[in-house]
C-alpha cells in the first residue's frame, strides 16, 4: 500500500526563509512520490503549526509526516508528540534539518534552496521505511547522587533532602564547603563567607535524608535514567567516623606540622588534621605521607590521647555501590595556576600572591589572623591588583572568568579598609553585571582606588629609579592616557581565573557527559536547558559548567535539584525504543560488539552462543551495528533500508 506523506516546511521566521526559497521547496516536495500534501508555515513549532499537521493527519489520512525545520535536538519531541496526539505512531515521523545544516551555513539563496530540496527529498524517501515503535516505561528510583560538596552541591542536597528524598552527597576532600569556605568576605554585600556558609554545612551534617560520603570519589556509574548504580570509593581517614566526637585533642598533640593546603601553604596544619575548625564532618583525617606512624612506625600520640579509641591505622579504603535514579554533578573548578604566566613573577617574586592567597591572609581565622601583611610581616603601603590572569588571554584561556572583576573590587576594598594602602586595579574592562554589582563598583571608585585601564604587561624587581628600589614594579599600558606606566608597589595580587578541574575528562567519561570547547561540562541547551546534559537523569550545576559566582552557583544548585525532583515525581520514565537488537540466527558469536559497547549493554549467552543487548542499558549509539561483521545487529529507526533510502534520494 502506498504511503500518504505530509511535508511541512518551516520558515523559522527569517532564519530559514531569508536564505531558502520555501515556496519552491514546497512545490518540489509536492511532486515527490507518495507526498499527499506539502505546506509551508512561519513557525511550525507553534500551536497553529502543530495544528496544521494534526488536521491533515485526521482529514487527509496521512500515514507519514516530515517536518523540515531546525535540528531535532529541540523540537523532534514536539512534533513526535503532535503526530501521536493525532493518532499516528510517533515514529512514523522524520525531521529534516534545513536550518543548522542548510540556511545558517549558506549565503547563496539558489544553492541553499537546492540543498534544502535534497534534504527534504531524503527525509521523504526515508520516512516511507519507518515502522511504528512502542516506548517502554520504567520506574524511577527516588534516591539522588550529588557529586561535589561546595556551595552548589550543598544547595542541591538541602533542596532535595527537604522534599523528603534521599541524597548521597559525595565529596573528594575531608570536608564539604569547597572554595567558599576559604573566602573571607563575599561581594557585593560583604557578608562574611563563613557566616552564611557554615550554617548550611551544619544542616547537611544533621539532615536525616542526607548521607554524606566525604573523602570519597565516584569511580563508576552505570545503568540508565531512573536506575543508576554508582560505585563510590571511600578513602581511609584512619579515624573512625562512628567513634570520633571531634574533640580535637589528637590534632593538638600531634608533633608533626606541615604546610596547610587549605591555607595555600601560608599556614601550618598537623599530620592528623581538620582542614579548618568548622569542617563537616567534624572528623580529622591522617595524612599518611607525613604521619610518623606511617613513615617510621613510631609516635602514636594520637592513639594515646584519643578518649574514644577512634584512631584506626588499619582502616582500608572501601567501595560501596549506591542505587540512585538521578545524579547532579557539582564538582566546581580549579583556579588558574599563576606560575604559568611567567612575566608576573609568581613563585619567583615573594610578594606576588594569588587572589585565593589574599583571601586566606584576610580571613579572620587564616594564618595571619586576618592581617594583610608582606612576607616580612610588615603591612603594605601600596598594592596592585592585576585582573584577567589566565582569562581573556589567547595564550591561556580565551573566556572571561566572570567573577574576577567583582572579587578584585572586593579585595581593593579589604586592602583599603584594613591597611589604608594605596590600591591600584589594572583591568581590561570592568564587568559588574549582577544585582548590586555596579553600585559596589561605584563605591570602590569612591574609596579612591586607582583604576588603570590596561592589562599589566609584567611585574619586575628591576628598579629604574630610586623610587622603584626594593619595590615590585608593575609595567602597564594606561590605554586611557595612551602611555606606558611603571607603578612601584609593595604587594601584587593576581586575580586568577577559573579552569575546568583536572579530573573533568575522567569524570565526564564516568558519567558519559561531554565538554564544551572551553573544557567545562556541556549543558543540553545554553539557554533553555542549562543544568541538563545529553545524558538523561544526569544534571550539572555550578562552576563545573563554566565560571560562576556564588549567587549563580546557588541558583543552579537549586535548579538542578528541581530538575531531579521533577523527574522523580514523574515516578516513571520512558525509554527510547531506537536501540540495537540482534538477529540471533545471523550472530556468529564473535563478541566484537561486546568490547566496543561504551555502555556495557551487550552480554554473551553461553548456551545459545550469541550476543544479547540489554534494552535498558542500550543508548542507541550504533557502534555495534556498524562493527558487526555478519550484519546481525540492527538498530530500530536506523535500519539499512532507511539510511540507504536517504543516501539514494540525496544522490538522485
Amino acid at each position: 500500500m502506498a504511503e500518504k506523506i505530509g511535508v511541512y516546511i518551516c520558515h523559522c521566521g527569517t532564519n530559514i526563509a531569508a536564505t531558502v526559497d520555501c515556496k519552491s521547496v514546497v512545490e518540489y516536495a509536492s511532486g515527490l512520490p507518495d507526498v499527499t500534501v506539502a505546506r509551508e508555515y512561519q513557525y511550525m513549532c507553534s500551536d497553529p503549526g502543530q495544528e496544521l499537521i494534526k488536521k491533515d493527519i485526521k482529514e487527509l489520512g496521512l500515514t507519514r509526516v516530515v517536518v523540515a525545520s531546525c535540528s531535532p535536538l529541540m523540537h523532534e519531541p514536539t512534533f513526535r508528540r503532535a503526530v501521536e496526539e493525532a493518532g499516528l505512531n510517533q515514529f512514523l515521523f522524520q525531521m529534516a534539518n534545513i536550518r543548522e545544516q542548510c540556511s545558517w551555513i549558506s549565503e547563496n539563496k539558489e544553492m541553499a534552496t537546492e540543498r534544502a530540496k535534497a534534504i527534504v527529498a531524503a527525509a521523504v524517501k526515508r520516512v516511507g521505511f519507518h515502522e511504528p515503535l512502542e516506548v517502554k516505561k520504567v520506574p524511577v528510583n527516588p534516591n539522588v547522587l550529588i557529586v561535589g560538596g561546595g556551595i552548589t552541591g550543598i544547595e542541591s542536597a538541602l533542596q532535595i533532602a527537604d522534599s523528603g528524598k534521599k541524597v548521597y552527597l559525595v565529596e573528594k576532600e575531608p570536608t564539604i564547603g569547597g572554595y567558599m569556605a576559604r573566602f573571607d568576605k563575599t561581594f557585593p554585600t560583604l557578608d562574611c563567607a563563613a557566616c552564611i556558609l557554615t550554617p548550611k554545612m551544619v544542616s547537611v551534617a544533621q539532615h536525616p535524608n542526607i548521607e554524606l560520603l566525604s573523602y570519597s570519589d565516584v569511580t563508576g556509574f552505570s545503568g540508565y535514567v531512573g536506575n543508576f548504580t554508582a560505585r563510590i570509593r571511600k578513602r581511609a581517614r584512619y579515624v573512625r567516623e562512628d567513634k570520633c566526637n571531634g574533640c580535637g585533642l589528637c590534632t593538638e598533640k600531634c608533633p608533626i606540622s606541615v604546610p596547610s593546603e587549605f591555607d595555600c601553604g601560608l599556614g601550618k596544619r598537623k599530620a592528623i588534621y581538620r582542614p579548618f575548625p568548622q569542617a563537616v564532618p567534624n572528623v580529622p583525617v591522617i595524612d599518611r605521607d607525613h604521619c610518623l606512624f606511617f613513615t617510621k612506625g613510631i609516635c602514636k600520640v594520637c592513639v594515646k590521647f584519643c578518649p574514644r579509641g577512634a584512631i584506626d591505622f588499619d582502616q582500608k579504603e572501601e567501595y560501596v555501590d549506591l542505587q540512585v535514579g538521578t545524579a547532579i554533578i557539582a564538582t566546581g573548578f580549579d583556579l588558574f595556576d599563576a606560575a604559568r604566566v611567567k612575566q608576573y613573577g609568581y613563585g619567583r617574586l615573594p610578594n606576588v600572591i594569588t587572589s585565593l592567597e589574599f583571601e586566606r591572609l584576610s580571613h579572620a581565622s587564616g594564618p595571619t589572623g586576618g592581617k594583610i601583611v608582606l612576607k616580612n610581616g610588615q603591612m603594605p603601603a601600596s598594592v596592585a591588583i592585576l585582573h584577567c590572569i589566565g582569562s581573556r588571554d589567547t595564550n591561556f584561556n580565551e573566556y572571561c572568568s566572570r567573577v574576577c572583576c567583582m572579587y578584585s573590587l572586593k579585595i581593593a576594598h579589604l586592602v583599603h579598609e584594613k591597611t589604608g594602602a594605596k590600591v591600584y586595579n589594572c583591568y581590561i574592562d570592568i564587568r559588574a553585571f549582577g544585582k548590586g554589582y555596579e553600585e559596589f563598583y561605584k563605591r570602590i571608585l569612591e574609596e579612591e582606588t586607582i583604576f588603570i585601564r590596561g592589562k599589566a604587561a609584567e611585574v619586575t624587581d628591576f628598579a629604574q629609579s630610586p623610587a622603584e628600589k626594593g619595590k615590585l614594579v608593575v609595567a602597564v599600558e594606561d590605554t586611557l592616557l595612551g602611555i606606558p606606566r611603571r607603578i612601584p608597589v609593595d604587594m601584587v595580587v593576581l586575580s586568577v581565573g577559573f579552569e575546568p578541574r583536572k579530573d573533568t575528562t575522567e569524570l565526564g567519561r564516568i558519567f558519559s557527559i561531554s565538554r564544551s570547547k572551553d573544557g567545562f561540562f556541556l549543558e543540553r541547551h545554553p539557554k533553555l536547558a542549562p543544568v541538563s546534559t545529553a545524558s538523561d537523569g544526569i544534571f550539572i550545576a555550578g562552576a563545573c559548567q563554566g565560571p560562576k559566582d556564588i549567587p549563580d552557583s546557588v541558583a543552579q544548585g537549586a535548579a538542578a535539584a528541581a530538575n531531579a525532583l521533577s523527574l522523580i515525581d514523574r515516578k516513571e520514565v520512558t525509554l527510547e525504543p531506537t536501540i540495537a537488537f540482534i538477529d540471533e540466527k545471523q550472530c556468529s558469536g564473535c563478541k566484537i560488539c561486546i568490547g566496543l559497547c561504551p555502555y556495557n549493554a551487550i552480554s554473551f549467552d553461553e548456551t545459545k552462543k550469541v550476543s544479547i543487548v540489554n534494552d535498558a542499558l542500550c543508548k542507541g549509539c550504533g557502534v555495534c551495528v556498524a562493527a558487526c561483521p555478519s550484519s546481525a545487529i540492527k538498530q530500530r529507526n536506523f535500519t539499512d533500508d532507511q539510511i540507504l533510502a536517504e543516501v539514494e534520494a540525496i544522490c538522485a
Binding site: V341, K342, Q343, G345, R348, N395, E458, T460, D461, F462, A463, Q464
Partner: protein, 278 residues
C-alpha cells in the same frame, strides 16, 4: 666580532658530536627590518634558504635569532597561507627550487639543551665555570612571536644550560627585553637607554658578565657601552660572552680558540678571577 660566535659554535658542536653542515649558497635573510617593510620579498629570501635545506634533507640549526625568527615565520606562514605558498612557490621555481615545508627550524640553544641534553653536555665539562655569575640574556626574538619550546615572556633554557656548565645564572628580569638593535641607527637616544637598563639590571643583580645568544644584541651592548657612559655619565665596562664561548671555556678550549681575544670590552679580569684565563 661575530666571527667569534661562528667559530665557537662550530667548535662546541664538533665537541658535542653535532654534525653541522653549512648550507650551500645560503643568502641573507634581510634581518629584522626587511620583513616589516617588504614582507613578501623577505619571505622569498627565507624560503630560498628553506628550499636549499629541504633539497639537502636537512633541518636548520640557527644561531642568529633574527635569521631564526624570519625562517620560522616564513615556514609557518607558508604552511598557513595558500596564496603565499603559491606566490613564493612560483618565484622559487624560477630558480629551479621548490619548498614543500618539511624543514624544521631550530635555534642552536634549543638543539643543545633539548636534543643533546644535560648528561652529554655535563660529560664534556672539564673546567666548570664555578663562581661565574652570569646574566642570561635572550633578547626579544628567541621565543617571540612563535616559540613554544620555552616560555615566551620569561625563557629559562639559557639559565639551565649555564648551570650545566657550573656557572651561576643571576636573576635577570630583563632577559627577554629589546637591546635597541637597529634602533641605534634611527633613534640612538632611546636605544642607548635600553642598553643602559640591560647593564644596570645586570649590575643590580651582581652579574659578572652577560651571556648572549644573538650577534646583534651582543654587538649593540658591547659596542655602545662607551656611548652609554657618555650619554648617562655611567662607567660601564661590562664583558659579554656568546653562550657558545662559555660552553667552550667550560669544555676546556682557550681564549684564542674561542676568539675571546677579539672582544671590545675585556673579560680578562673576570676570567682571571675564575682562573680560566689562558
Amino acid at each position: 666580532m661575530n666571527r667569534a660566535y661562528d667559530d665557537s659554535a662550530r667548535l662546541i658542536c664538533k665537541e658535542l658530536g653535532i654534525d653541522l653542515k653549512e648550507l650551500k649558497d645560503w643568502n641573507c635573510c634581510g634581518a629584522s627590518a626587511y620583513m616589516s617593510i617588504r614582507e613578501l620579498r623577505a619571505h622569498l629570501l627565507s624560503a630560498r634558504n628553506l628550499a636549499i635545506a629541504e633539497k639537502e634533507k636537512k633541518d636548520l640549526a640557527v644561531v642568529c635569532p633574527a635569521c631564526f625568527t624570519n625562517l620560522t615565520k616564513t615556514n609557518h606562514y607558508m604552511g598557513e597561507d595558500a596564496k603565499l605558498r603559491r606566490t613564493v612557490g612560483s618565484a622559487l621555481k624560477a630558480a629551479d627550487l621548490q619548498y614543500l615545508g618539511s624543514v624544521k627550524v631550530r635555534h642552536l640553544l634549543d638543539v643543545i639543551v633539548n636534543d643533546i641534553g644535560e648528561s652529554e653536555v655535563k660529560a664534556k665539562v672539564t673546567r666548570p665555570l664555578s663562581g661565574l655569575k652570569v646574566a642570561p640574556y635572550y633578547g626579544c626574538q628567541f621565543t617571540r612571536p612563535l616559540g613554544d619550546y620555552d616560555d615566551k615572556e620569561f625563557p629559562m633554557m639559557l639559565d639551565t644550560l649555564l648551570t650545566w656548565l657550573g656557572a651561576q645564572p643571576v636573576n635577570y628580569p630583563l632577559k627577554a627585553k629589546c637591546c635597541g638593535g637597529i634602533l641605534m641607527t634611527t633613534n640612538e637616544k632611546v636605544a642607548l637607554g635600553l642598553v643602559r637598563s640591560l647593564l644596570d639590571c645586570a649590575v643590580q643583580n651582581e652579574a659578572m658578565c652577560v651571556a648572549t645568544i644573538c650577534p646583534l644584541c651582543h654587538m649593540t651592548i658591547e659596542l655602545y657601552q662607551g656611548s652609554v657612559n657618555k650619554e648617562f655619565g655611567t662607567r660601564f665596562k661590562f664583558p659579554l660572552f656568546y653562550f657558545t664561548q662559555l660552553m667552550g671555556l667550560a669544555f676546556g678550549f682557550n681564549r684564542k680558540q674561542l676568539k675571546i681575544d677579539q672582544e671590545l670590552v675585556s673579560s680578562k679580569a673576570v676570567l682571571k678571577a675564575l682562573e680560566v684565563a689562558q
